[in-house]
């Protein structure tokens, strides 16, 4: 049966939806929209570099050294490029608290402008990879899906819910990752992640993947609660913890003689 598409039925449909919202509202975890990316007018390049240098000296130099050549626990940042900076700082991984095998995602410590300034400063020292200009989600959704399943799903899971790697490492879930972070991760290959150079995945292909990841992260589940999008494991848990439990309680009710 095809949908009825007159506006009247659609409106009445919404009415029903509104009526039932209170019932099912609790069953849904609201999928938070992406923080609106505020487009700032670009300040002059040199000012940004100066500003970035200040942030670097106060926040990063302890580990990475005053001259970016690395030091106590931190690698050299010469030539890593703006892309790496954006990945590490915008995902909250840097600054790193000591003692992790793998840098965990944390609350972001810098604003978008501060990150850009920091990136500009690092970029000015030895160059390196930079993110392309413009909208990073400006790709093809279907192509992105196919590329995601070929290149990404084997570690990050079919819906970007993350997965285990060897010996305690893990591929993080992608729902919280901003387009810039996703793009720069593919570009720079942080930690365990392989790198995908532009000869391997073109700019369009990378943007398509970003678009697909953001799309599935933001799309609500059509079949009810998504159960974490982990696959059959959580479904099995639900049938035991909810299904069997509820039905056993019912048998207790039915079987009880007053």
């Amino acid at each position: 049966m095809r949908r009825t598409s007159t506006s009247r039925t659609r409106r009445s449909g919404y009415a029903v939806v509104l009526l039932a919202l209170s019932v099912i509202g609790t069953l849904y975890t609201a999928v938070a929209g992406p923080s609106a990316a505020t487009e700032e007018p670009a300040s002059s390049q040199s000012m940004a570099i100066e500003e970035g240098r200040d942030f670097y000296l106060s926040g990063c130099s302890t580990c990475h050294g005053l001259d970016l050549t690395g030091g106590a626990g931190g690698p050299s940042l010469i030539g890593v490029g703006a892309s790496s900076v954006i990945f590490q700082v915008e995902s909250g991984r840097m600054p790193l608290s000591a003692g992790f095998q793998q840098a965990p995602r944390k609350d972001v410590r810098y604003t978008r402008e501060q990150i850009d300034a920091l990136a500009a400063y690092i970029q000015s020292n030895g160059g390196g990879l930079t993110l392309p200009e413009g909208d990073l989600t400006d790709g093809d959704l279907q192509l992105g899906g196919a590329l995601f399943r070929t290149n990404c799903a084997s570690c990050h899971n079919f819906a970007g819910s993350g997965g285990a790697l060897t010996y305690g490492k893990y591929a993080p879930e992608l729902e919280q990752a901003s387009p810039r972070v996703i793009y720069s991760a593919m570009q720079s290959g942080p930690e365990s992640m392989p790198r995908y150079g532009d000869n391997q995945l073109t700019e369009l292909e990378k943007k398509s993947i970003v678009r697909y990841v953001r799309y599935i992260s933001e799309s609500e589940d059509v079949g009810g609660a998504g159960l974490g999008r982990y696959g059959p494991l959580t479904e099995g848990l639900v049938i035991w913890v909810v299904g069997i439990t509820v039905l056993v309680l019912m048998t207790l009710w039915i079987g009880a003689r007053a």
């Binding site: 095809r2 196919a146 079919f158 997965g163 285990a164 010996y167 305690g168 079949g223 049938i239 019912m250």
Partner: protein, 550 residues
Amino acid sequence: MSHLEKVTDTTAGWMDERLGAAGYVRKSLNKVFPDHWSFMLGEIALYSFIILLLTGTYLSFFYTPSLTEVVYDGSYIPLKGVTMSQAYESTLFISFDVRGGLIMRQIHHWAALLFLAAIVVHLLRVFFTGAFRKPRELNWVIGVLLLILGLLEGFAGYSLPDDLLSGTGARIFHGIILSVPVIGSWATFLIYGGEYPGTEFLDRLYALHIFVVPLAILGLITFHMLMIWYQKHTQFAGPGRTEDNVVGSRFFPAYAAKAGGFFFLVFAVLAALGGLAQINPIWMYGPYNASQVTAGSQPDWYIGFLDGSLRLMPNWELSALGYTVPFNVLLPTVIMPGVIFVAMMLYPWIEARRTGDRAYHNLLDRPRDVPVRTGIGAMSVAFYVILVIAGGNDVIASVFQVNVNTMTIAGRIALIVVPPLVYVITKRWCLALQHNDEELLHHGIESGTIRRLPSGEFVEETVPLPLVYQLSLGVAEPEPQDHHSPAPVGTGFEKKPALERAPDKDGFFRPRRSASNGSANGSSNGKANGKRPEAELPQLEKSGKDKPPS
């Protein structure tokens, strides 16, 4: 003559003239079914199966079991224009373009999970209460067969949509068949119609899934139920409940109403799950491609124990004389389940042989009264649960940030260490519970009333445990010792009524004192039945049968 009377008379008359079934129908309407919540667990499985048939039939109207490549042009935007198999395309069509198709699919899938979960719960109930004993061994075997067929049916259904996850499952299944010595590669060619993935796997699986296996399940369920009907249901000990009777509701109307109502309740729970909890979102998995895979690839929960055993298995492989035996696959997925299922089927005879108990049993055991069996059961559950957890160790590792290698090694150790430990603990626990019951029987319940004796001593009055409780503690009402042979002693399997329990070999449990009642004298021959003092078992004793031994 009332209207109702007219209708019933006419109907009965019409039927009887043609079928001559009046007598049988009357007996059936009045058939007594014992009431206990745990006797309804098997019903959950039965109702899930009916719901599976209903929803599955609807799905079959739209599904196409074909690997022919088509380009998707349905309403799920992220896959528009993607090349995929017809099977996957038709499943997407059901999910997005058939009105209400998604909830049908989801109820069908949830019902499959529930079907197997209910079978497992029902099986545990039957095992721990000893309901499989003579004369019900055959029904136990049928139950195990139903479980195996259920696994097969579930796996076939899981593989049909040809999504990335199910395709991965089909590939693993291929590898498992391939591992069988001598016939393995030949068998995979028969099943897949050639080299993997072949073109006909889905057609064959579909025929199995919607015809062969359901028919076999339906036939076995029918036989299962006929046996219950014919042999009458078991019951727990309690007032008036003996080996020779059934106490409970009549089939019509009360039992039928409760059972019928329960069907709708099971359906309601499945509808709630089908509508509110998304299951198997194949559109996110994407179409199957042999070079793609998703992290956390999992089977449905009921195959999880096999996946877990695969993960925990060390990498043993034997190559000799030009032939290869991959024990790393063969042992955990062919030999282990084979041994387990055969042992399960034979268990009633194994236990009977061990105990020498050839008697009929219509009264159920309380698990604590048969510590060895309960221990074996708990041990098996522990073994199974460890395997299931291991089957999801990568997802658990990723969610809880644990090292997946550590989980695998821990699982290997746990699989060897935990089950024996669980056995010992469970057995001890059962004995402790028996001990507790003994206390209750001998001392009664503390009443809170303090009485002063003439000597000036203060004592607290205790109230004897009400008979109702005594009876359900396993204090058997006396009964003729005709076809019930005395329970053998010393094997740990025998049911020991609280009052005649033998002193425990380990010295863990001993009769507290040879108090006023003479039955706590540690007599171990089980023949003290019927010799209980009046004070312990008033009146009701004679209410049993005066039936002569047959």
